[in-house]
Symmetry: C2
Subunit: 166 residues, 2 copies
């Protein structure tokens, strides 16, 4: 497959982006990981034991009170190198056209990633965590407590992904 | 407890916001729910059987391909009525000061909420889901497939919350 004149891959479809943005975000810190290029990032973050660091801007440090009591956290971050206009994608490792909202690809209208991480420790405004797969330097957007009661659905299924493995 | 001259509650602490934003988002649709005021919203979304609708802007409709194969989705949305400068909060139903990042409160530097919902059906660019607790008209930011392999941690704990219940 070749990238075409529009900078997208064969089988991919893009739309015109809206004329204006609707709201804005602050980068509240950076994520430090061992991975400097996308090809180095682990394919499945849960399988990676790599320890990463959420480096929170000291401005927000007081907001970490009680976070140390959480075993797991929801981390939101900004995948700042991605196209935002692709609605149908051809993930290269699958080779089948999929809708953007059926994928966790960084290419999406709002390139906000969500990862569930295990909290290993907090030192000042730095949090050591396991379970990330993003590039070193990725901008951090939010940290939330993970509540199993609302966030854990062990029997959830993704049909297209299950079929792929048969 | 009274709201003070700064518009925050006793026991709450705010910081100066950064001078500039770092990135911007598009509202890709709206969430239709039965709740018109915050006091009407359910306290625990998982306990609510209310059917809500994700009304996606038709611009993005093609990106829904394959989403119908997902039993559950991650929904990101923008809690557009919240203060963004509060680092220590006094949730009124707990009465104890907590750090913003230890809470799922809408008041946070980037008011992006994450909910796990059950997908009931798709009709064009409208998705019927269960598991939301937000106000009617809330702006939609993203829809992702929920992968139990990386997103479900049934034994995760939030220490401050468990202690509260003892």
């Amino acid at each position: 497959m070749d990238e075409n004149a529009f900078g997208i891959w064969e089988g991919e479809v893009k739309v015109d982006l809206p004329a204006a943005f609707d709201a804005s975000v602050y980068f509240i810190g950076r994520i430090r990981t061992p991975w400097k290029e996308r090809k180095d990032c682990p394919k499945n973050a849960r399988e990676s034991d790599a320890i990463c660091t959420l480096e929170l801007d000291p401005r927000w440090a007081d907001a970490l009170k009680d976070v140390e009591t959480c075993s797991h956290l929801v981390v939101l971050y900004w995948m700042d190198r991605s196209r935002r206009d692709i609605v149908l994608q051809m993930p290269r490792h699958y080779g089948v056209q999929r809708g953007t909202f059926a994928l966790r690809s960084p290419a999406r209208p709002n390139p906000i990633a969500m990862s569930v991480v295990r909290l290993l420790g907090i030192d000042g405004a730095n949090l050591k965590v396991a379970g990330l797969d993003c590039l070193d330097g990725t901008p951090l957007l939010d940290i939330k407590p993970y509540f199993a009661s609302t966030d854990a659905v062990p029997d959830a299924t993704v049909g297209w992904h299950a079929e792929r493995k048969r």
